[in-house]
Amino acid sequence: MQVWINFQSNPFALSALYCFGFITLMMILAPVLSPFDANQQFSDIISLPPSWDDDGKMRYFFGTDDLGRDMLSRIMHGARYSLGYPILIVLFAGIIGTALGAGAGMTRGLKSSTLNHLLDVLLSIPSLLLALIIIAILGPSLENVVIALSLVLIPQFIHAVRNAVHDEIYKDYVVAAKLNGCSTWYILTRVILPNITTVIVMQTTLALSTAILDIAALGFLGLGVQPPAPEWGTMLARSLDQVYLSPWLMILPGLALFLTVFSINVIGDSLRAAIQERIRNS
């Protein structure tokens, strides 16, 4: 609650939260709200500029692309791939990674330090490179991208949670709980977990922006979501040939991507600041 009050007092954080909420709402309501289907072609209206241009039409608010598809509908439907799937991936990776990381944090000795070194190797390889290798094994498709990114993000969660648990476990309050005879499960869930929420929240926002950027980058490279699916990265890759004639094809999906990542980063930043403030005050 205190965190929310701190968070609320920051106007940037609040507007970022509204922005993110708006994008999420658009994503959920896209089938109802969007004027056309994402792949519906209007062959008589090709490469129409956005409505604020002199040649634009209000009916096609963001204009149309080189195949006559409505850009507004494509961007709205695209949010499902560019934001919806990353959220699912992060939830999945977060639950598995946190569970494994908490388990690893409670163990000590050779087994734990071996795991730590293994994770160091895995984490030293950038997430996109690792995802690219997994795609090379599985082949490019939406399902494989989801699998690859989940596999890439799980070690990051394990590492962050393991280190956080490891830092807490020697502190006095945990030792006190142990001396009281609490079970390991109780110590983990009731004693340690509330104290590492900062780490988990930070890791989640970080993983979300990584997942969004990586899924878009893979789409951009033609190795992720395959056209004609209106994924933002894939749309950007298509726009590369058209940039001379119709720059809005490139600017609009990119702007959507930027706003999403930006609002997540601002939320993450302010959330950390708010939690730190609460810790300092208490």
Binding site: S124, L128, L129, I133, L223, I264, V266
Partner: protein, 343 residues
């Protein structure tokens, strides 16, 4: 320090070894025949294939296969490309230098611009220039690198026509690609137009380097600002100020060296982010480096190339990280003490 160095080097060797196991297991994970994936020799060449099968120990256990593979990797035999039939290791050297040229230049730009901007923001804390620097850095930190590259191309190459769009140099100059680094190539070539060729190459470098530098630059600004602010609150700064030292002297001699400590540690992390972005940037700007080679390898299912690029890029990142940590421990002995106390 010797103990610490040995420890880090030992750890580096173990990590590289684990990496080689990962690369080895990829041969079995990739679709197709493991031996073909490893050496680039297809089953359609039965004579050579059978020879290799024996030479690589494929009629023996998997442990023997691995030791055989490992000795080949160490001796520089990384197989041949499935597409061009050229040895991967030889091609890799040229591509590697091209990538290194791009990423080192970007890192240099990021460091030279990011640190002063961070210090400036810290000194002028909560004033207008601080807010502008921090706002711009936070927003450019969120720009996807491929979109930034497209925007730069649209603005500087298409609309303003200041800079060329892709490639390393205008092919008219006819520079032989020997080292991979375009600047070095021109320097060692015997062309009559050295200066204009250098200028042309520099123009080709501006856009990719700028795109690559933005991300580490913004991170360095943020870290430098936080670190400088923290140092400026320390007692020894207050004491120096009380002794009447001038503000620039205080900043330059007392604050900055200490503020650099967390910044240096960040350089390793920034480098691995930079390498990720290099892969994408090279693909967009048609830069003949490891990144675009990897992407091409994935399109063409050229498994020896994918494996080689993975080994090189991951090895490079690991090496840079260890070097940064060693420098950090050597430059800031107080960190070393903490490290010892922990273990």
């Amino acid at each position: 320090m010797i103990r610490y160095t040995l420890r880090r080097l030992m750890l580096l060797i173990i990590t590289l070894w684990l990496l080689s196991i990962l690369a080895f297991s990829l041969n079995y994970l990739f679709p197709g025949d493991p031996l073909t994936n490893m050496t680039g020799v297809r089953t359609s060449d039965p004579l050579l294939y059978e020879q290799l099968q024996q030479a690589r120990g494929f009629d023996h256990s998997i442990v023997l296969q691995y030791t055989n593979y490992f000795s080949h990797i160490v001796s520089g035999d990384w197989g041949q490309s499935l597409v061009t039939q050229r040895p991967v290791f030889e091609d890799m050297q040229v591509f590697f230098v091209a990538t290194l040229e791009l990423s080192l230049l970007a890192m240099l730009v990021a460091f030279l611009a990011g640190v002063p901007l961070g210090v400036l923001a810290a000194v002028r804390q909560r004033k207008l220039s601080d807010r502008i620097i921090m706002g711009v850095s936070l927003s450019s930190y969120s720009i996807p690198v491929f979109w930034l590259a497209q925007l730069f191309i649209l603005l500087f190459a298409v609309k303003l026509n200041w800079l060329p769009i892709t490639g390393q140099i205008n092919p008219l100059y006819n520079i032989d690609n020997r080292t991979g680094s375009i600047l070095l190539d021109i320097w060692f070539s015997d062309t009559d137009y050295k200066l204009s060729a250098l200028r042309d190459a520099a123009q080709h470098l501006v856009l990719p380097v700028a795109v690559l530098a933005i991300m580490p630059l913004t991170m360095l600004v943020r870290i430098t600002r936080t670190a400088t602010l923290e140092v400026l609150q320390q007692n020894y700064i207050r004491a120096a100020r009380a002794r009447g030292l001038s503000e620039p002297h205080l900043l330059w001699k007392h604050a900055l060296p200490n503020a650099m400590q967390p910044v240096v540690l960040q350089l390793g992390l920034q480098f691995s982010i930079l390498i990720t972005n290099t892969i994408i940037t090279e693909a967009i700007f048609n830069w003949p480096g490891i990144g675009s080679w990897l992407i091409k390898g994935i399109y063409e299912r050229d498994y020896p190339v994918i494996q080689g690029t993975l080994l090189t890029l991951a090895g490079l990142i690991l090496l840079v990280n260890v070097l940064v940590e060693l420098y950090h421990a050597w430059r800031y002995p107080q960190v070393r003490k903490e490290l010892y106390a922990e273990h």
